[in-house]
Point group: C2
Chain length 204, copies 2
DNA sequence: TTCGTTTCTGACTATTTGGTCAATCTGCTT
DNA sequence: AAGCAGATTGACCAAATAGTCAGAAACGAA
């Protein structure tokens, strides 16, 4: 049914140029405040090409956001590869979020802005977290109140930590400290014993 | 230096009509996707009047957002009037946020969207919370890790709770339960003993 | 009532912008 | 080499839009 033909390298180039341009522009302004002319100018591409790849502005913006999201998603799964303990996996996600906010603040800003429906449980980035929380709950590692609000709770903390790190450019050690503190607060809130939470937070 | 003349009632009427129109429109779309013509049409006002009150679109949007923010701000101080225990005050803020999200989801959406720099400590809405956290820390009611990240921690939880309540239209009892659960997680994360947190959460 | 001031009005314009399309180009297949 | 499918180009257009301004209206004071 799906006859996915591999896109030609030329096609990929122009598309990548457009996305890259959008990546830069969307950091500062919402899509509605950006003219397509600006995008194609920055991408070094003719206007017509834009509509060869995207039916309109908003599909374009969605594609750019998806690009960033997939980056983070991949990094999270990579970081958690081989980690079995669900609590450690949960913490790993926050660590990736913090690293991302510090190393690529512009992309992170874009991610945060596109994440309006951030708590949607079907969101691919959140699927894994949801499963980890459920596993931890089943293992009796979290307090039962986390069953319903555990997911939004943790997502909110990851988001706000990213925002905080982006706004206050902390020095590396300070950033590490903020992450560790947020991990302690977050994990104990979920019901992880304080000493265990501190141990996980210390493992930078 | 400030010669604040009271605005005439007519002036206030048109301004209020414009803000009300903006309130409705800005819920669905960002300001850059809204034409001034739409605003004035919905407000039943001539276009020229718009520029009598606001120099441009973005000042207008800011004014609309400020309107909502001041509403919430007032409600928080009202709810916490007379409450001395800083931990109870902190919890009170979240309760107000939840109530607001449930009773006025449209306004709440607007608030959340305008709150991009939500963790700014100078933000008037956050000033009070910051002071409460500092007071609680000084009284030894919170774990020391909350000194730096306590404010963003709590703000993130309030925000994510609002989003969660808006997205999933829960029945009143369910909404109460979600608030209580988020309070338990949040407060224990801050370092409040679990039984104390549960007690505060129970006091609907 | 009269007059001066402030606000409102809505037609008008200069500009911007999303989207189209026929011609051109590119690279692959035969 | 020749042919072909699909990608690229950029001039072009119709619609939308921000902001202006001169006159009308409402208001407050005397």
């Amino acid at each position: 049914m799906a006859s996915q033909t591999t896109p030609s390298p030329r096609t990929q180039r122009t598309r990548a140029a457009l996305i890259a341009a959008g990546l830069e522009l969307l950091v500062d302004r919402p899509i509605d405040a950006i003219a397509i002319d600006e995008v194609v100018a920055r991408a070094g591409v003719a206007k017509g090409s834009f509509f060869n790849h995207f039916p309109d502005k908003h599909h374009f913006a969605a594609a750019v956001a998806a690009e960033v999201r997939m980056d983070v998603e991949a990094e999270v799964t990579r970081a958690n590869a081989g980690v079995i303990d669900p609590v450690a996996r949960i913490a790993g996600g926050m660590r990736v979020a913090a690293t991302f906010a510090l190393s690529q603040p512009r992309r992170a800003t874009l991610l945060l802005r596109s994440q309006v429906p951030a708590t949607r449980q079907t969101h691919p980035l959140n699927r894994g977290l949801k499963e980890d929380i459920e596993a931890a709950l089943a293992a009796g590692l979290l307090r039962p109140e986390a069953a319903h609000v555990g997911l939004p709770y943790w997502l909110g903390l990851c988001q706000v930590l990213m925002i905080h790190l982006i706004e206050t450019h902390p020095a590396p050690e300070a950033a590490e400290a903020r992450l560790a503190e947020m991990l302690v607060l977050g994990l104990t809130g979920l019901g992880v014993p304080a000493d265990r939470a501190a141990a996980i937070a210390r493992a930078s």
